[in-house]
C-alpha cells in the first residue's frame, strides 16, 4: 500500500503450507517495504522472519473498515478457521466489542470446504447449487463432523444436491446471524462482510435477507485485514520519519 495515497500497489495470496517460514522467506526475497505489520494467526511467526510489528486481525479489520467505510458499525469476518463479528463506533472508529465463534470449525469457512468435499463438489459448484435449491430442509448438527454424516444420510434418502447445498448455507447462516445479533444496532442500515467467506455470493444474498440489511462486500474481502495492517503500519512509518 502506498503510504501517501493509500492505493494498493500489489497484492498476492498463497495457501498456507506446512513450512510457513519458508514461504515468508520468499516474501523477504521478492518484496521490499518501508514498514510492515503482520496480522492473522501466523503474525508472530511472520514477525520473526520479516521483522516489524504485529496486530490482531480484529484491530486490522476495525482499522480498514473505518477507513474505507466510515459509516459502517458492524463487520463480520468469515475466515477459514474462525468467524468474528465486530461493533465499531462510527464516529471515532473505536472498536466497542467483538465476538468470535466457538473453538470448533462449525460456522467457519472450513465447514463449507468439508461439506463441498462430502458432496463431491468444488466450492463454486456448491454455491451455484445452493442458489437453485429449496430452503425447506434443515441440517441440525452444529458440529462439522456430525453435519457430514447428516449430509450423507440425506443423500441416501434421495434429496437433491441443490436442496442439501442450500441447507448447508442455511446452517452456517444461522451461526452468522446469531453472532451478528449481539453486534448490530437498530439504526445501522448496512453491515460489512469480509474474509474469504464473503466471496460466496449465495451466502451474501441469504445473509442480507436474514438480517434485513444491506450487506456490503469490498472488492477484495480476503485482503481486507491486510489493508488494515498496512494502514496501521503508516503510524510506525510516521514515527520513523520523526526520528530522522
Amino acid at each position: 500500500m502506498d503510504a501517501e495515497t493509500h492505493e494498493v500497489v500489489d497484492r498476492f495470496q498463497a495457501e498456507t503450507s506446512i513450512d510457513l517460514a519458508a514461504q515468508l522467506r520468499l516474501i523477504k526475497e521478492n518484496y521490499c517495504w518501508d514498514t510492515l505489520i503482520s496480522t492473522g494467526y501466523g503474525r508472530h511467526l511472520s514477525q520473526k522472519v520479516l521483522g516489524g510489528e504485529t496486530v490482531t486481525e480484529i484491530k486490522a479489520y476495525t482499522t480498514s473498515a473505518h477507513h474505507f467505510h466510515g459509516d459502517i458499525e458492524t463487520v463480520i469476518d468469515l475466515g477459514g478457521q474462525d468467524t468474528k463479528a465486530l461493533l465499531i463506533n462510527r464516529h471515532t472508529g473505536r472498536l466497542l466489542k467483538f465476538e468470535m465463534n466457538d473453538k470448533c470449525s462449525a460456522g467457519t469457512g472450513k465447514f463449507f470446504e468439508m461439506m463441498a468435499a462430502t458432496l463431491g463438489l468444488g466450492l463454486n459448484e456448491l454455491v451455484a447449487a445452493a442458489l437453485k435449491g429449496n430452503s425447506s430442509l434443515e441440517i441440525n448438527s452444529t458440529c462439522t463432523v456430525f453435519a457430514e454424516s447428516e449430509v450423507i444420510s440425506l443423500l441416501t434418502t434421495g434429496i437433491s444436491v441443490e436442496d442439501i447445498a442450500r441447507a448447508i448455507h442455511e446452517s452456517l447462516l444461522k451461526k452468522l446471524v446469531s453472532l451478528l445479533s449481539k453486534m448490530m444496532t437498530a439504526d445501522s442500515s448496512s453491515i460489512l462482510f469480509v474474509g474469504g467467506g464473503a466471496k460466496n455470493s449465495a451466502l451474501v444474498a441469504f445473509l442480507s435477507d436474514a438480517i434485513d440489511k444491506k450487506v456490503i462486500v469490498p472488492e477484495y474481502p480476503d485482503f481486507f485485514g491486510a489493508y488494515g495492517a498496512a494502514l496501521l503500519s503508516k503510524k510506525t512509518l510516521n514515527q520513523n520519519m520523526e526520528m530522522k
Binding site: Y41, V55, E57, I58, K59, R94, L95, F98, M100, K103
Partner: protein, 384 residues
C-alpha cells in the same frame, strides 16, 4: 526483574502445589488427619479445630481427563473430569493423603461425581442452599456445618469443642486479612506483585494455619512493601492491567494467564476461588455460637451457583475500584453453566456499571484453543 526478592525462598519456586503438598505431608507426619475438600464452601475451621489439615482436591490438569471420560460424559466441566480422573488413576497425591473427604453441592456435576468416589474414602456431602438471601438459608446451612462437625467427630473419634472452634476462627481471620492485604498490593501501578505470586500465596494459605503462617505472610508483606518503596516493579509503567474473574484457575488453564503475560499486560488481581475469594470476609469472633458464625460467613461466598449472586458484582466493584484494571477477563470453564450464564450480567455490569472493558473466555484444560485465545486476548488488550 532480576533484583526481585522471591516471596518464597524455598525449593518450590514455580511449583505452588508441591509446596502445598509439602505443608500437608508435614502436618500428616505430625499426626494430623487430612481432610480433602473440593471448594471454598468447605468450612476448614472445623478441620483445623480438630487438629487436622485440609487438602484441596480440585484438579486442573488435562492429563487424567482421558481416563475420566471412560466413565464420565465428555461434555462435562474439565475440573470435575480432571479431579475424578486423578482419583481413578490413583495419581492425585492430595487425594492419596486424605483420611476423609468433604464435598459441597455447588453444582450437579460435582454432586453426582461424589457418589462415584464415596467407595474410596469416608465422604460427607454438605447440602448448600442456593438462594442465600431466603429466610432460613443460613439456619439450613448451619445444619450442614453441624453435620460435618459430627461426621469428623465420629470418623476420627474426637470432640470439636466450642473453644477450639473459636481459636480456629480467630486464626483464620488473622490469616485471611493478611492474604487480603497481600492481594491489595495489586493496586500499585506499575505492579509490584505478579499473578504467579498471588497464586503462590493463595495456594499456600489454603493449607496453612497458625503462628508460622502468620509470620510467613507478614514477611511477604514486608518484601512487597520494600518493592513498593524501592520502586522494584514486576511490570512496565504503561502495561495494560487485567483482572481475572470467573471459575477457579490453576494448572493447564493458567494458559489464559500466560497469554496475558505474552501480550505484555500485567494481571493485577485474581478474583476467583483460587485467588482472593476464599479469603474475603471475616467470621464473627466471640459470638457464642461458632457454628452459626461459620455458616453465616461461608454463605456469603459469591459463587455463581447462588441465585441471585449479588455478592459477585459487589466484589467486582470493590476489586475494579481498588485495582483499576483496563480489562476484566471472565474465565469460564467449559460446561460450567452457572458462570457461563452469569457472564451475561457480569459483562453488562463491568462494561456499563464500571466502565471497564470485558472479555469472556470459555475454555478447558487442553491446548487446542491457544491460537484463538491469543487473538481474542490480544485484540481485547489492543482496545483503548
Amino acid at each position: 526483574m532480576s533484583q526481585l526478592t522471591p516471596l518464597f525462598m524455598d525449593e518450590f519456586a514455580g511449583f505452588p502445589l508441591k509446596r502445598a503438598l509439602g505443608q500437608v505431608v508435614k502436618r500428616r507426619e505430625n499426626g494430623a488427619r487430612v481432610v480433602g475438600a473440593y471448594c471454598s464452601y468447605a468450612p476448614v475451621e472445623l478441620i483445623w479445630a480438630m487438629g487436622g489439615v485440609p487438602a484441596i482436591l480440585c484438579a486442573f490438569s488435562n492429563t487424567p481427563i482421558a481416563k475420566a471420560e471412560e466413565t464420565l460424559p465428555a461434555n462435562l466441566c474439565p475440573l470435575i473430569k480432571s479431579s475424578f480422573g486423578f482419583i481413578e488413576l490413583k495419581t492425585c497425591p492430595f487425594f492419596e493423603l486424605t483420611d476423609a473427604v468433604v464435598g459441597e453441592t455447588t453444582c450437579d456435576g460435582k454432586k453426582k461425581m461424589f457418589e462415584l468416589i464415596e467407595k474410596h474414602r469416608p465422604l460427607y456431602v454438605m447440602d448448600l442452599p442456593q438462594c442465600p438471601a431466603n429466610e432460613g438459608a443460613v439456619e439450613y446451612w448451619k445444619h450442614s456445618v453441624t453435620g460435618f462437625k459430627k461426621f469428623l467427630e465420629a470418623e476420627f473419634n474426637t470432640t470439636i469443642t466450642d473453644n477450639s472452634l473459636e481459636e480456629s476462627i480467630q486464626a483464620s481471620n488473622a490469616k485471611n486479612s493478611l492474604v487480603e492485604e497481600i492481594f491489595a498490593f495489586g493496586s500499585h501501578k506499575p505492579s509490584v506483585i505478579t499473578w504467579q505470586e498471588m497464586y503462590d500465596v493463595a495456594t499456600y494459605a489454603m493449607v496453612s494455619h497458625g503462628g508460622e503462617t502468620i509470620a510467613k505472610l507478614r514477611e511477604i508483606i514486608a518484601t512487597l512493601t520494600e518493592r513498593r518503596e524501592k520502586g522494584i516493579f514486576t511490570s512496565t509503567e504503561h502495561a495494560k492491567r487485567v483482572l481475572i474473574t470467573g471459575c477457579p484457575v490453576g494448572g493447564d488453564v493458567l494458559k489464559v494467564l500466560k497469554l496475558v503475560d505474552e501480550e505484555g499486560a500485567t494481571i493485577v488481581g485474581l478474583d476467583s476461588c483460587t485467588g482472593l475469594k476464599p479469603f474475603v470476609g471475616r467470621i464473627q469472633e466471640g459470638s457464642g455460637d461458632p457454628l452459626l458464625a461459620i455458616a453465616k460467613r461461608y454463605l456469603e461466598i459469591p459463587c455463581a451457583c447462588m441465585t441471585p449472586n449479588t455478592g459477585r458484582t459487589d466484589a467486582l466493584k470493590k476489586q475494579v475500584t481498588l485495582l483499576k484494571p483496563d480489562l476484566v477477563i471472565d474465565l469460564v470453564l467449559q460446561s460450567c453453566h452457572t458462570y457461563n450464564i452469569e457472564a451475561v450480567k457480569v459483562e453488562s455490569f463491568v462494561r456499563n456499571g464500571l466502565g471497564t472493558n470485558y472479555l469472556k473466555v470459555v475454555t478447558d484444560f487442553s491446548a487446542q484453543d491457544l491460537g484463538q485465545l491469543k487473538t481474542r486476548i490480544g485484540a481485547a488488550l489492543e482496545m483503548d
